[in-house]
Amino acid sequence: MTGPGVRAAALVAALLAYPFVDKALGFQTVHAVSDGMIYVLLALGLNIVVGYAGLLDLGYAAFFAIGAYAMGLLNSPVLGSPLYGHAWSFWLCIWLAAAMSALLGVVIGAPTLRVRGDYLAIITLGFGEIIPVAIRNLGDITVDIGGWRPIERLNLTGGENGVNPIGRPYLPGVPFETDPVPWYFLILIIGAASLWSMNRLRDSRLGRAWMAIREDETAADCTGVNPISTKLLAFALGASFSGFAGSVYAAKLQAITPGAFEFQVSIMLLCMVVLGGAGSLKGVILGGMLITVFDRVVLTQTTFMVRAAGRAAGVAALTTADLTLWRWFFFGLGLVLVMLLRPEGLAGRRLRPVAVGVDDAEDPMVLEPPPPPRAEAIPRWLRDRAPRGAAADPRVPILEVRGVVKQFGGVVALNEVDLLVPHGAIIGLIGPNGAGKTTFFNVVTGLIRPDGGRIALVGASLAGLRPNAIVALGVARTFQSIRLFPQMTVLENVLVGGHCRLAATVAGAVLRPPAVRAEESRARARAHELLAFTGLGDKADELARNLPYGDQRRLEIARALATEPRLLLLDEPTAGMNPRETEALTELIGLLRRELSLSVLLIEHDMEVVMRISDRITVLDYGTRIAEGTPAEIQRHPKVIEAYLGTGGEQDLAARDRSR
């Protein structure tokens, strides 16, 4: 057996043996350890929301509360639930509780999706406050409308007194009533199953989508990831795990009160996630264990020691010291210190790995030239897709934009702009800074809603579609200021591009039936091929943020190609590149068109590049199209010369460019 295999087997053996060893030695810690494991499970659920999807949730205890109360109310005599008192009650209620928590996750998630990160945090905090208040107050409801009382002294939640007792799980011959050991194993099984599914989710299309949203929501949207459903899924799944945790907690404790689900619990769970390293399963478990041990063992034991030392030394102040009162101080301090000193957490991936030979890479003398793109390297599957585009009626342009208008306040950013991209054409879009070129891209890709005009992709209107839907129809883009997913690997970046062409659902991602396995391995193979084609083949496992500039530009193109586009929008792809890189990229664009008949719309400031590869060029100035024609026509066009050089400029545009 290999090293990790031995370690895993040893871990499993230790976990299985622990309660019996504990019993034999008379430690009686199984109860406390089981409770700690419930909190670790909660932290793992929170990690989906905070660590994966990057949504700071300050009210996660609300989901815990819903899980616990769902179990409490369904499986107790307090409200006269018909489910109480059967052997199977617990086993049914635990699923109901998880479902109710997930539902609440969607209810809380849905309205918050349009809200920015820090505002979203405050909203979750608001829900986290409202739920305990509601639980407290719904124990005794009387509605009094001018003496008419439609509802009198209705008890929905048990109010301040909470719910007690709660039905225990029942398995023949297993003493859940008297022995903590079955609880330990129950929680261990739930925890292991949760961990297993989370691990699989992370390495799936869904996990990548969460991380893409966390890294850059706009870029993810423009890469075919639907931010709304992705975030909702994170909320719902994160909540469902806390539903399991909450129901086990309720049944184990046999009594729940609203006080157990306050803001402090949310923060303690957040502490666990952040301390261990948001996004890392190992880290969250480590963080959860450290905090539980610290809270339950270190603080109390140190208090004993300090008191003993105080008595021995005769210091009165020490003999009455109680370090448990400092609990929240230490949690707060922990949050501050981790964020300041090690924001990636104890076990998280280092943000700034010490890259060997960083200096070499930045030195242009040793920079190896990008490999020239080769037609043979074009992935076969991209080629196979190409005829489909060509088979369509060539008379219908791939993109047809008519009279698009966009105003920002009083500024007319786009004024009745027309633009046509025929099949397999490269169209250049040029104009001085602020002419509205990027705004035009944003309108076409759905990031900005136009105030008027028509945009059609192969004859079908794109009006009102979200960016990710437009990507799914076959429009991919790159950004003027590179927008990769910096904390994801190069390969993962490209895989996110394939997101909208994959179909795995939650169940598929967890259970991995053959269809999902095949789809996933195909996606990986294709991503590798794309990387090889764009000259990034040997960098698949590097973090995108560590790539040199030119590689980042090419990775953005590889990611765009992974969405299997019919139309590629490139926003200044050669900006900041050296002449050799520019040359290779120009070559690449030409190759894509020649070999795949991919249509390209190109914003570019490098006139040499635009003039050389464009079939036709559209010139914008102050949001208005001032010229359209072949490169040769554009170079002679008086309005273009005027826009670029001002009136009276005698120099020819091309001449100026040559002299540069």
Binding site: D118, F329, L333, L335
Partner: protein, 312 residues
């Protein structure tokens, strides 16, 4: 009490509450305006302001109600001392917990802010103990309508109500003057709009941020002092709730907008007083949070602010 007397009385209560919320909300909105951080610890600076003012009173030997000349000398002195202390505290918090994270993600300083908030609350808990602390009745309480005007009314308007209004308005006027007329204020407004351009224009951005925390902390300290003198009670956990209500006020008024924060504070004050009376004090918190959520979701720019778009 007739129904209109109840309404008037609750409105007066709302006004005094709202004035305190407004002072706290100003600190939130100023900091958010300049570094886009929800300074979660701000409510706890307010809470510590109350305890610190108590300490200053104790240091100056004040344990009973102040009389004529003391009101004119000692009270302003305690105001200044408290405000300076909380201002320094707020600046220190920024230096230690937020400043190193200026170039980091948006959520990182929010997490440290929550951490600082817990630390401050715990410090207060250990300093003053878990039980509510009685704040000496330093400010004379006179029933104005009855004693000064001889009107026999069920409505109570006391000199303490006057104190709240009389202290808050000058502070707000001074703040307005500071922000709109001084060099510092101009630097703050410029930095809030565009930090990099402000830097390029020769503004020392870090000093400007420091000044923002200083002023915000001073206002929170004043609010703590006023709260203590008005309600004669202080709890280590009061900063959390007051802070969140004040933040709601700031958001309601359009975060970053100072007049908005002042008006939002008053609105939340009225609303919470009316809710206590007409719905139930048990539901007031839920109501305030519901408003916070609704505003953040449907009008995140606040009732008066303008929506800003992300740069792509």
């Amino acid at each position: 009490m007739s129904w209109w007397e109840v309404l008037v009385q609750q409105t007066i209560n709302g006004l005094t509450r709202g004035a305190v919320f407004a002072l706290i909300a100003l600190g939130y909105t100023m900091v958010y305006g300049i570094i886009e951080l929800i300074n979660f610890a701000h409510g706890d600076v307010f809470m510590l302001g109350l305890f610190i003012s108590l300490a200053w009173f104790a240091l100056l030997g004040v344990t009973t109600t102040l009389t004529g000349w003391q009101l004119l000398t000692l009270l302003p002195l305690v105001f200044v001392l408290t405000m300076l202390t909380t201002a320094a505290l707020n600046v220190a918090i920024d230096r230690v917990a937020y400043r190193p994270l200026r170039r980091s993600t948006r959520l990182a300083p929010l997490i440290t802010a929550i951490g600082v908030s817990f630390m401050l609350e715990n410090v207060a808990l250990l300093w003053k103990g878990p039980a509510p602390i009685a704040y000496p009745d330093v400010f004379p309480s006179v029933d104005i309508l009855r004693e000064w005007f001889g009107v026999d009314s069920a409505i109570f308007v006391t000199t303490k109500d006057m104190l709240v209004v009389g202290a808050t308005i000058p502070l707000m006027v001074a703040l307005h003057y500071f922000v709109s007329r001084t060099r510092w204020g101009k630097a703050m407004r410029a930095t809030a709009q565009d930090r990099e351009t402000a830097q390029a224009m020769g503004i020392d951005v870090e000093r400007t941020i420091l000044m923002t925390f200083f002023v915000g902390g001073a206002l929170a300290g004043a609010a703590g002092l006023i709260q203590g003198m008005y309600y004669n009670i202080g709890m280590w956990w009061m900063g959390y709730q007051a802070g969140l209500r004040a933040f709601t006020a700031a958001v309601l008024g359009g975060i970053g907008s100072m007049p908005g924060a002042a008006l939002g504070g008053l609105f939340i004050g009225f609303l919470s007083a009316w809710s206590d009376q007409y719905i139930s004090a048990r539901w007031t918190n839920a109501l305030v949070f519901a408003i916070l959520i609704l505003v953040l979701v449907f009008r995140p720019q606040g009732l008066m602010g303008e929506r800003s778009a992300e740069k792509i």
